[in-house]
Assembly symmetry: D3
Homo-oligomer: 247 residues x 6
Amino acid sequence: MRLQLSTWPDIQQYLEHSHGIIVPIGSTEQHGPNGLIGTDAICPEVVAHEVGKRIGVLVAPTLSIGMAQHHLAFPGSISFRPTTLIAVIRDVVQSLARHGFRNIYFFNGHGGNVATVNAAFAEIHSEASFTGSGTSAPSLKLANWYMGRRVQAISRELFADSEGAHATPSEISLTWHAYPDHAQPMTLEPRLAPSSHFGDARDYRQRFPDGRIGSDPSLASIEAGTRLFEASVEDTIEDYRAFVQTS
Amino acid sequence: MRLQLSTWPDIQQYLEHSHGIIVPIGSTEQHGPNGLIGTDAICPEVVAHEVGKRIGVLVAPTLSIGMAQHHLAFPGSISFRPTTLIAVIRDVVQSLARHGFRNIYFFNGHGGNVATVNAAFAEIHSEASFTGSGTSAPSLKLANWYMGRRVQAISRELFADSEGAHATPSEISLTWHAYPDHAQPMTLEPRLAPSSHFGDARDYRQRFPDGRIGSDPSLASIEAGTRLFEASVEDTIEDYRAFVQTS
Amino acid sequence: MRLQLSTWPDIQQYLEHSHGIIVPIGSTEQHGPNGLIGTDAICPEVVAHEVGKRIGVLVAPTLSIGMAQHHLAFPGSISFRPTTLIAVIRDVVQSLARHGFRNIYFFNGHGGNVATVNAAFAEIHSEASFTGSGTSAPSLKLANWYMGRRVQAISRELFADSEGAHATPSEISLTWHAYPDHAQPMTLEPRLAPSSHFGDARDYRQRFPDGRIGSDPSLASIEAGTRLFEASVEDTIEDYRAFVQTS
Amino acid sequence: MRLQLSTWPDIQQYLEHSHGIIVPIGSTEQHGPNGLIGTDAICPEVVAHEVGKRIGVLVAPTLSIGMAQHHLAFPGSISFRPTTLIAVIRDVVQSLARHGFRNIYFFNGHGGNVATVNAAFAEIHSEASFTGSGTSAPSLKLANWYMGRRVQAISRELFADSEGAHATPSEISLTWHAYPDHAQPMTLEPRLAPSSHFGDARDYRQRFPDGRIGSDPSLASIEAGTRLFEASVEDTIEDYRAFVQTS
Amino acid sequence: MRLQLSTWPDIQQYLEHSHGIIVPIGSTEQHGPNGLIGTDAICPEVVAHEVGKRIGVLVAPTLSIGMAQHHLAFPGSISFRPTTLIAVIRDVVQSLARHGFRNIYFFNGHGGNVATVNAAFAEIHSEASFTGSGTSAPSLKLANWYMGRRVQAISRELFADSEGAHATPSEISLTWHAYPDHAQPMTLEPRLAPSSHFGDARDYRQRFPDGRIGSDPSLASIEAGTRLFEASVEDTIEDYRAFVQTS
Amino acid sequence: MRLQLSTWPDIQQYLEHSHGIIVPIGSTEQHGPNGLIGTDAICPEVVAHEVGKRIGVLVAPTLSIGMAQHHLAFPGSISFRPTTLIAVIRDVVQSLARHGFRNIYFFNGHGGNVATVNAAFAEIHSEASFTGSGTSAPSLKLANWYMGRRVQAISRELFADSEGAHATPSEISLTWHAYPDHAQPMTLEPRLAPSSHFGDARDYRQRFPDGRIGSDPSLASIEAGTRLFEASVEDTIEDYRAFVQTS
């Protein structure tokens, strides 16, 4: 059930029996020579939409732009500053809380979002914590699709040490499952990209000239993507249900 | 050409011959008893994607959430505060400017965004204006799909005084063209919603109990949506080209 | 009745029978070769003071500085960033609301303020809209003196296509009515200034070398100013009364 | 020479021989039972205008609203939060610096502004100090009219221990000199208002029920105001000249 | 009694009989050729800890960084922008208010903090003042150790006109009392540093090449520090008690 | 070598051969029934000071307050909002960068700081990343003392599953090593505190009534603290040296 394709009376009815919602969050950033710029938004979006269909949970519009300052030296990357993303998350949560949503599950596709989204959660909770007021913010969770139990098993099985940390064969496979017309198999040189820490965008591009970190996306395939998709849908149904029950 | 479905080398190549981009911007807010909550994002998105296909212009991911504080008393509406939306637009523009985009065309579906987006443009220009520095921000334009010449002619022809100001038959028709499975023809009571100014969300809901302003969306149809879609695509191609040439 | 020239017991008494106030808002910015830098503040101020005298409505001190980033390449212009002006308006409204004012009428002399002031209104309303709390902000209106019905009739009659968009003969006439010693009739070359869109201050100055947009202020006169003054006073009394009655 | 009553070519010419400007800054706040709400803005404004006439220095429009949170329990008081006032001062200084002003003299009428204006100066200087960049902000000074040497001598002579700290006979006299029609001589009970520290607006009103602190404004007179006006003009000419020469 | 060395049950117990706390606040900034960079934090810290021991008042951890933008041209200085320091103070006060502290005594070692800390107090009080809500912030005071009655008597006696305004023999003596191993007696050239106003860091360093203002720290001694320490402890006990009783 | 106990000429000399600095960062928050409120600041501080002594690296003053909103329902806890802590870190880094420090090593004692400090690093890097300017921020690292290799080995050996996540026997042992007079051995009921996720302060206190998460601090001892201290010093020397060499 997609929020964008619902009417307000639909949502009013939904809230009578559920107070949970999934908010896909990604990024718009380079994903190496053959990875789509929308990879980190596409992955959680397609999984969330399928979860929405299977178990009837409401899915908010995807937050397609995240914290990607380190990718800005590659054309096409768009980033929010952390303080902007904190304001974005705060306003989304407060809007949803206004309507009575009590369990807000951010379903994330971008490692670079994790610190800032958690800081945003703490900023939101601070309002109640500083005043000691009676009303708390909704229960908030950030889940990363690539951290799911079933997903990680498949990644290890298929890609092992070639998975890497950015522009991974797993995420690229999943986008090709979603958009098979955009699959661009390609051999890369070096096969495995380098790995290290990094700072700003200039530093990132010097360390990782084609954008990848530690990965070999030449291993990506639509077939792998289809397996990962199904695995992530199952992981997410399980995790979302646990979240709603315990929070 | 969609940014999300491109790779960074694609964008590098694109920038060799063009410095323009379309950024669809909408809202996630109630649109009356049978209008989709995503109406204001869907309308500019589907038109922009078609424009991208026809003339090869790059289209950024849709900014699906806008300034909709007055709709927050209806379940499902999500809003950014104006200062949040200003930060969002600033970061998007600065990211694109970093790559060399010089003509950024915000293609909008929500009247409530207009003031804040224009304030954001002024905030962005202020950086250069206050310092007198040599580098200016890109050329920025906000265009509303519902203000196109061809679109307005069709709206007047089909809906005349029943168009109204919110949850209009025109925008609802266009979303039904895009998502025919979600078309929900419906007779409403009163046929024409009331019209007036408004303040905050509580005030809005008191004045417009079912969410519409001055409109009769029972007149909406997929056929009208198809005509409006084609008209808006033509309006936008014309207007975008003029923007790029004169800025 | 001017706030600055009242005592607090005067205001306490005023609030027993009225909850309305007029806040003149303008700008401090170049107005072409012979227009006063204070034009946009002077115009609403002198009209508001007269309205205050005639119908006893309270008039706040003029907010003399507005959003004028595009004029900063001309000496003497002073601007607030949009986010600064939003904070200014918010604090003024919250101060007045604290005392029980329920109808706050911003009377404006500068087109460049419109987007930001409306964004500020939305920012103010957001507080109640996001929380759903019981107390709303006061009713807020932005009215532009140059948009009044009677004023526009005179402008069309006297200046027609020579009115233009900045440093107009109408506004300059009105300042000369207010400060006849500062009237500087002058023939300009070209007679009619160019018209176009613009971005930051450097861009503005390149497009409009003497500061005017589309206007011929050589047509300005004290006599025209006197007629416009009287017309604006009448427009404003009518509009303010309608505002207070319907909000 | 008033900025509001000048044209931009006037200012261009002025900047050829001077880089100094006076910015009157005050407050809009209760001043006891018979003091004008605009007292703190009127005092520096009338003195600055006279200084402008006598020595040809440029005078900016008065910043009529200051930091007056502690007065908000009295009807008619308007305040900026400190962070708002810091943004206001920063934008004014940056606008003036853009044109080449190098000596900006804030001429103040409100003790409650002093801390925040000084914090604003430090905020402005921080830009250059943190980066170590070559361009510094202009030289900035905050001068209080009531601290002038000649002014203080007259206050002591005329009012001695009845001067107090808020709604003082000196400032009220000066406003009556400026607006003799608004002089409201009045005997107050108690003759001398109480004195103490204070916190927020509620606390202030509990401690100072009629708004005065430690003062007896029944001693105010137009005659005293005329003497103070002349003294302040002389003090200010002297102090402004010293500022421009040493900075 | 130090907060950092207490448990939460200790503080719960403390709050049953007292609602006061001392918060030492200083700066991390150059103090001339032989003064410690931590001088302004060390001085209030050591005095506050002793006061805590003698009268059992709770002492918060020292806020070691203050507003020191003008010192940033000297290696080792660290500064907060005024707006950052305002946020710091606000969060500390709101945290303490949450637990029931009603008397918060900021004990300061740095003149450069005074304006910003007072602006922060006003920002904190604004919350209650703008809304008129029933709950006020705690009572707040900023006290400077070097302004104590006994301390000033000793400074005048020992150092007279050689005390100066920055890197004074008094503060350096007190740090040597606290850290005798770091005493570095030194003769300076010129004996007395220059005095004047200043702006940003570059300007400061040009005017005061070795960092001192108007002082002769060659007069500093451990013995003087010990006398000043004892004097400041007594001053502070007296002043803190008066604060708690009257607020 | 401690920054607070150095003079500016000392730092000038230091910068001739090194561009690295350690900034201890902790928190002021409840640590269960017998843990010190300063635990998270004390741990990194004492280790950093020893590292400073052994290898001559400069150590900044400890940032004693961190992001601890979830602890605010326990008396004595003080927290910064995430946006405040971001501003704090930004100003500290920019101050140090001004002097030429290129390797800034934040040495942390509080898990709750991790997300916000990493968001702060991204906020700092954004400045260069968005503009593409030539100057990058310094190299930044956040290291947690409790994650050191040697430290974790000892924790596992001594406390195994009783270590838990907050108020752990390891951190409490280390504070007792530092402040043996404040060791308060105590048996707690239940022996092992509960474990779960949490939201705001009220939620935290309901889930963890005495403040601990999953730990049994009755196992803490001075002896364990001494071993952990030595291990952490060695871990940190190794990690700091690697950081300086590779960044």
